[in-house]
Amino acid sequence: MEYEAVIGLETHVQLNTKSKMWCGCANQYGSEPNTNVCPVCLGLPGVLPVPNDEALRKTVLTGYLLNCEIPRFAKFDRKSYFYPDMPKNYQLTQYDKPSTANGFVEFEFTGAGSVNGLARVRITRAHLEEDVGKSTHFDRHSGLDFNRAGVPLMEIVSEPDITSADMAYAYLNALTEILHQGGVSDCDMEKGMVRCDVNISVRPIGTKELGAKIEIKNMNSFSGVRRAAEYEIARQIEVVKRGEKLIQSTRRWDDVAGITEQMRTKEDAHDYRYFPDPDLMPLAPTDAWLAEVKTKAIELPLARKQRFMRDYQLPAGDAEVFKSNVALGNYFEGLARQSKNPKAVANWIINNLLAKLAELNAREKSEQEALGLEAADLKLSSFADLKFKPEALLELVNLVEAKTISSSAAQQVFAEMFDSGKAPAVIVQEKGLAQVSDTGAIEKFCDDAIAANPAPVADYKAGKAAALNSLKGQVMKLSKGKANPALVGEILERKLKG
């Protein structure tokens, strides 16, 4: 019998609000322990929570980005359990009336379960809750840092639509790309801003009934999720194939050993005793409020990629670059709309501009580090700092299109405009780079090249068509790159055949 995996993910994402969920403390990573705290987030006697409007907006915005319904009634509930890093010993969360529900994420995926290179995972809900503090364990005692306590945390629950470790990985990357580009979360894995619980079960292919759900808790890297899921799927299949029974349980991923270990079974599962928080009023978003939040919804990355491919005839690779780098995509689109040859514009941006910028950034970095600047203080140039106007790139493309300059001359023009900001036409004139299309001049260069290179000439005549390239190169050299390459080819061929 063959088995398949059924995977659902619960992804916790910290919202990038200025302040915490229930108080005015800064929502800031990396501060000294217990410096972003107040009576409210420490759960001192007598305090009350006040909802952070920005967090409510960002949660509903997430709902729009994940194609969710936005219920007109939502509320916060208390989830009770004791843990030292949780100041109130209950967590405020949205239990049965979340702020968003019934959406989906669509993403590129080519493995099993995909259709036309796309996969879709339904989203049960994205709801808002609060993060807890952080425990640090020492030899004889533990320390608690409550800076993170009360940071707005969104939990995004997927339906069990994921069928492989690779698909889980692709889903997580697509999800966080949406949230990051959507301005909802910084999604910085290193800073623990994204954490994930993975629910996995297996069943015989063709059956509908779900197997015992086994949850792997608290994963903090996507590659870890993929490895853990691969391991766990194989483990579960092996267990059922041995004829043993799996039971609902919670497991922990040991990243070093590369295995999952049992933490607890259903019998000792918590009873969280959810009930509506009487300190908070239910949420009843108005039409106007929802409409305003909706205006903040960006075009989804996948839609943007598809549109770039469709509207600008870009190959998938180029469109992918512009999808994942929003600023670059915007820069491209600003020019592509005005260009007859968007593909050429894309080439210049991806092949030349990015390389030049990387070169410049590397130089800036070593210069500034030499001055003793810390990594966080480095000031590196970006698109906003380019010396040439975006339109100059368009002009450059047009010069090549019109055959005014050769593509090799265009490289020189680009390097110069990147360094000085001068307009391409000015550079072409100053450097005398205008392409030579005067057949008389080119005939002369061709004659000289044929005379000086008997070997390739003989090769060509003997049937090696590729030898023509070598002669072309010689002609270009003689013309200092200015000869029109198409004409050079024509003339050489004529001369050699004749």
Binding site: P39, L42, G43, L44, P45, G46, V47, L48, P49, V50, P51, R78, S80, F82, Y83, P84, P87, K88, N89, Y90, L144, D271, R273, Y274, F275, D277, P278, D279, L280, M281
Partner: protein, 489 residues
Amino acid sequence: MLNQLTISELAAKFAKREVSAREATQACLDQIACVDGKIHAFLSFNAAAALAQADAVDQLISQGGSGANRPLLGIPIAIKDVLAVKNQPLNCASKILGNYISPYDATAIEKLKAAGAIVFGRLNMDEFAMGSSTENSAFGLTCNPWDITRIPGGSSGGSAAAVAADECIASLGTDTGGSIRQPAALCGCVGLKPTYGRISRYGLVAFASSLDQIGPFTKDVRDSATLLGVMSGVDRRDSTSVPEPVPNYVAALDGNIRGLKLGLPKEYMVGGLDPEIKASVDAAVKQYEKLGAEIVEISLPHTDYAVAVYYIIATAEASANLARFDGIRYGARVEGNDPIELYSKTRGAGFGAEVKRRIILGTYVLSSGYYDAYYLRAQKVRTLIRNDFLKAFETVDAIVTPTTPTAAFKAGEKSGDPLQMYLSDIFTISCNLAGICGVSLPCGFTQNPKLPIGLQLLGKPFGEETMLKLAHAYEQSTAWHKEKPSLKF
């Protein structure tokens, strides 16, 4: 005897510069020294800090400062040990808070201070406001100033006793199921529970968040109106406070209640109601008729369910509210080998029997599989109870009832029987469940022994103005509020 005066009387003397705030404060401190050894209303007080506040007031007055916008300028007000006052102990009459000092002021306290009050002293109560006799305090009994073998009521027993024994001019308490009105009735003072959302709960250590309200204990209705006016208003730190305008409650006390309709719920005048109390309430109702009010019999059909509903909702909320007292961040701690052992030992040693009983009850009713049968059902019945009142208020301006079924009982008399104790709140609990306002004021005495009897008025949501107008008219036509306990022990 300055400590015996009301807020308005004392304020008049300050205005005429007849007495200083220091003298008034000292008079209260002297009275505490004289009687609190027997009454034990105060858990602690800082005399030097109180006098320093008084001196600051006197200095302000001597520099020509006026009390124009500060109706409580120089008035010594004592506080139930459940409200946060910056730099003062906050114990909720429980051992579990250890040496905890509040780093911030409750919003109500901030407002008292801004109005010029001298905020001093921590008043005894049932631990975490759970009880009806103040016998559940971890720090000893408070005695009823009218008979020190009897309880002062609860949970705000210290607040009621301190005002009745003239140890302060007024005090603050909290009312979750009658914890202001019941002790006010048993000690013979005026106790007001405002509409839910009228006064911010920020800084009130929650027992049952959807029921708790802060309110004043005073020597007359006018003072109650004054304090209500000072403390009311929406607060951005409390999402459940309501942005309802704050009227001038004192100005409404014009004595003219002609034509107002008072409802008499038939369900409240039956059962274990003490005959002397019934007689006093009947007489009060007659007095209202004499004053021109119209008496209408009404029905509140779901009254019988109130106590049961209350003990489900209040304990459910309490079980979560009290979870934060774990010995980790503040308060007393009993060490353990792991967090669970630390919690068990700390909470085992820190909480008293009644608090534990209610946490267990609340934990039970919220448990998986029981939620629908208890908590959810109780919430539905709560809505029916509220609807009873809203329906009644379509025809009447306020409702009149006894505050308690009996006068003050003996210490120890009911402490072994939680159910009997819970039933002492049967007339006050519905008001909290419905979220409406209520006030208790003196309406007579039992004969032997002489113990105060309380009359309860219940008003519409945010109907404090009319309710206090009715209370004031009755009070001014009788002399009950002027009687003082002998305090001869």
